[in-house]
């Protein structure tokens, strides 16, 4: 079975600090990669996605992620977080022959004002 690992379960940062959330997946074939965000009381929303091409992808709200194929990683970054970034972040993977999206266990980010 495929798996997605998010190493940080709970991250606490002060505003303006830089953020990097790790994501590793286990599948060796071609994959589509995603980061989703769930703000308190809201539904899951797409933050950014990678299908092919430039491995550095930019998403909404100043987030970016880098796909490193050799490391099976898709880490999420933001240079300067805001209080409004407080949310739970999920990494997800789907492969060509997959019947489902595999999600990581999520990382709760708490940004202190």
């Amino acid at each position: 079975a495929q798996s997605v690992s998010q190493h940080n379960h709970h991250v606490i940062l002060s505003e303006a600090a830089s953020l990097e959330l790790g994501c590793n997946y286990s599948y060796g074939g071609t994959v589509n990669l995603f980061w989703y965000v769930q703000y308190p009381g809201q539904h899951l929303q797409l933050l950014l996605k990678y299908f092919s091409g430039d491995p550095l992808v930019k998403g909404i709200k100043g987030f970016e992620a880098e796909f490193i194929k050799s490391k099976f990683s898709f880490n999420l970054r933001k240079p300067s977080v805001q209080w409004s970034d407080t949310a739970e972040y999920f990494c997800a993977v789907i492969g060509y022959n997959f019947n489902k999206f595999y999600f990581g266990s999520g990382t709760k980010l708490n940004v202190k004002p």
Binding site: N32, H43, Y102
Partner: protein, 112 residues
């Protein structure tokens, strides 16, 4: 345009009762997924529909769980004889084909 719509948004039911959860996907999306999210847990896959057929039911926890999709659109997840461990947020998502999944708000199910 309209997103994925789920109803009810909240459901409290007594242990042993049956419940039906509904999902209206985005029009034209052929793929539909059900996941559930328990407190402190990640997203647990339940079932995948491609059109009206369900090629992957591997995530359904027991035979008390069933789902159907009609007209390549609306899907219903049914839980029979609910148990307290069924309490969770049930999420529905639709997708064109293996591109990003669009999620609904979820149905919070509480079994008392």
């Amino acid at each position: 345009g309209a997103g994925v719509s789920q109803s009810p948004s909240n459901k409290v039911t007594e242990k042993g009762k049956d419940v039906e959860l509904r999902c209206d996907p985005i029009s034209g999306h052929t793929a539909l997924y059900w996941y559930r999210q328990s407190l402190g847990q990640g997203l647990e896959f339940l079932i995948y529909f491609q059109g009206n057929s369900a090629p992957d039911k591997s995530g359904l926890p027991s035979d008390r769980f069933s789902a159907e999709r009609t007209g390549g659109s609306v899907s219903t997840l049914t839980i029979q004889r609910t148990q307290q461990e069924d309490s969770a947020v049930y999420l529905c998502a639709s997708s064109p084909v293996r591109t990003e999944a669009f999620f609904g708000q979820g149905t919070r199910l509480t079994v008392v």
